[in-house]
Amino acid sequence: MEAVVTCRELYKIYTMGGQEVRALDGVSFDIHEGEFISIMGPSGSGKSTLMNMIGALDVPTTGSLRIAGEDIATMTPDDLASLRNRTVGFVFQQFNLLRRTTALDNVKLPLLYRDGSLDEAKIRAIEALRRVGLEDRMDHHPSQLSGGQQQRVAIARALVNNPKIILADEPTGALDSQTSEDIMQLFSELNDHGVTIIVVTHEQEVADLTRRILRLRDGHIIADEREDLVA
């Protein structure tokens, strides 16, 4: 299988008031197409920092990072925007839906930042909502939806451009355990269709639903557990 994410000696160093914080302290690993992987670790270990790098929301201080075969160091801001638009889909802990905007319009949003007709965008957005089981709620505003439903809308938004990778930073952090399970089930289904899924989580039960666990501590990878080894 081809590697969709390749990290080599990745560092992210914040300097605050002369104090150096090494959020990522030399991280190297590969993620292959079709993997379903969770990243675990204590608070402050650098999980979100790593996710933001892979999602092209942030750039490393040093080190090389290739996403879907492209070296992000050589990419222009527009290239990075296009990568965020088409190659990766981000799911946030706090859903980050636009208020006072219908579920359908929220899901449509990424399609508006690429070429294509509005009619086609609508069809694809409805299809994405159908995949998360919310096509009957497409005219609802986020405030009219439960937390789990809002997260599904957010997942539909991440899906709508058929990304290679879905990145979810604590997607179940704000949800109860039953709803969390449903969301993980949804990711699992998407993974069955070939989408690479990376989930950050604090909960072992959530991580157990994935096939590989990457453990971080103080910006280092301290363990990389594969399903066959875990079992």
Partner: protein, 408 residues
């Protein structure tokens, strides 16, 4: 993101902050309204100047005496002209087509019905030609009538209306300060007012008759006239003709080099333009008001857009996270500022048109409402939107996605 989508996104964002958005545009509304009133008045003034010059002729010069102010001292007395001088100048200057003198007196008109206080002006038979004045009814008097001092009167449109009403005054006998006159014609209305006086409230009569019977003789200059009008051939350089006329008059009136003139020569163009100075001054004031309002309004827009960018930092972060490029964000906020300004501009346009109409009915300035006013309003508000929206939009576009997303 396509332009249409950006436009709807902007409209939606503005709708969410309806009242705040509207208040923000107040400066723009006032600014654009001032611009519209200013342009309407400016156009109106220009049009009326053009019309008057067209009607009165651009090749006519008016000459009237002024007090001689020499070394700061006014001699205090007007030196009138004489008919002799006028005819001499007519012969001397090559391009003169016709001349007329003018001597006026305040009179009371007594007719069968009413008494009417008005001005009688003694002029030559050439007056209609020189002043481009039409006779609506009856005739103007002829040159012999002037020489022989006939008591003929040609009355202005206002007198026809106010004294004689519907019935034509031609043929009527009237008395002007007890001197009997016969009305032989009615002038076409000019519709003008000059220094608050109705130009149609006038009686024209032969020059000699008015001087001898009404204005009173003045011994030092028995053939005196108060002012003279010179009509030149079309197409000559009127400023050159004016200079020649001045030189000839200085000679005639024995004015030494270095001494000030005791007369003034005005071309009608300058005459008419001077009359429009008030509306011009008003236009400048409005221009200043418009400029300040647009500046203040623009800063208001900039301020509200900066607030909006700050409030919506997370939204910007999210949009970037799902693929918005910097220019998409930039355009989104620019359009928002421009739409805001344009809404203000359209309200200002409506207000300005209302204001312009109000002003024409209050002051007697002509306004000219042209379709171009709409374009001016829209272009101005677009420009204000772009200029003052640029900085906030750039601030938004320059945010880093991760910092924007994390913004509390």
């Amino acid at each position: 993101m396509s332009f249409v989508n950006s436009f709807f996104t902007a409209l939606q964002a503005l709708r969410l902050n309806g009242l705040r958005s509207l208040l923000t545009t107040l400066g723009i509304i006032i600014g654009i309204a001032s611009v519209i009133v200013m342009v309407a008045i400016g156009n109106g003034a220009r049009k009326s100047v053009e019309e008057q010059i067209e009607r009165l002729g651009s090749s006519m010069l008016t000459v009237f005496p002024s007090t001689r102010a020499s070394r700061g001292q006014a001699s205090g007395r007007f030196m009138p002209f004489s008919e002799k001088t006028m005819y001499a100048l007519e012969l001397e200057l090559p391009d003169v087509l016709a001349v007329t003198g003018d001597i006026s007196a305040q009179v009371t008109l007594v007719s069968a019905e009413t008494d009417w206080a008005t001005t009688v002006r003694g002029v030559n038979a050439t007056y209609p030609l020189v002043r481009n004045q039409l006779v609506a009814d009856g005739d103007f008097f002829a040159a012999e009538d002037v020489t022989s001092g006939r008591r003929y009167a040609v009355i202005g449109a206002t007198i026809q209306r106010e004294v004689f009403g519907e019935i034509s005054a031609v043929g009527a006998s009237i008395r002007l300060n007890n001197v009997p006159f016969e009305v032989i014609g009615v002038l076409a209305a000019t519709g003008e007012t000059f220094r608050g006086r109705d130009s149609d409230d006038v009686i024209l009569a032969p020059l000699k008759t008015v001087r001898d019977r009404l204005a009173g003789n003045w011994r030092p200059v028995p053939d005196r006239i108060d002012s003279m009008y010179f009509l030149f051939r079309q197409g000559i350089d009127i400023d050159e003709a004016k200079a020649d006329l001045e030189t000839a008059l200085r000679l005639d009136r024995n004015i030494e080099p270095g001494q000030n003139d005791n007369f003034r020569v005005l071309s009608f163009a300058s005459f008419v333009q001077a009359r429009n100075e008030t509306s011009k001054t008003f236009s400048y004031l409005l221009a200043a008001a418009a400029g300040i309002s647009l500046l203040v309004g623009g800063i208001g827009i900039m301020n509200i857009m900066l607030v909006s960018v700050t409030e919506r930092t997370r939204e910007i972060g999210l949009r970037m996270a799902i693929g918005a490029r910097r220019r998409d964000i930039m355009i989104q906020f620019l359009i928002e500022a421009v739409v805001l300004c344009t809404i203000g501009g359209l309200i200002g346009l409506a207000l300005g048109l209302g204001g312009a109409y109000a002003i024409t009915s209050l002051a007697e300035w002509e306004i000219l409402i042209e379709p171009s006013l709409v374009i001016i309003a829209i272009v101005t508000s677009l420009a204000v939107g772009i200029v003052f929206g640029f900085f906030p939009a750039r601030q938004a576009a320059r945010l880093s996605p991760i910092d924007a997303l994390r913004y509390e």
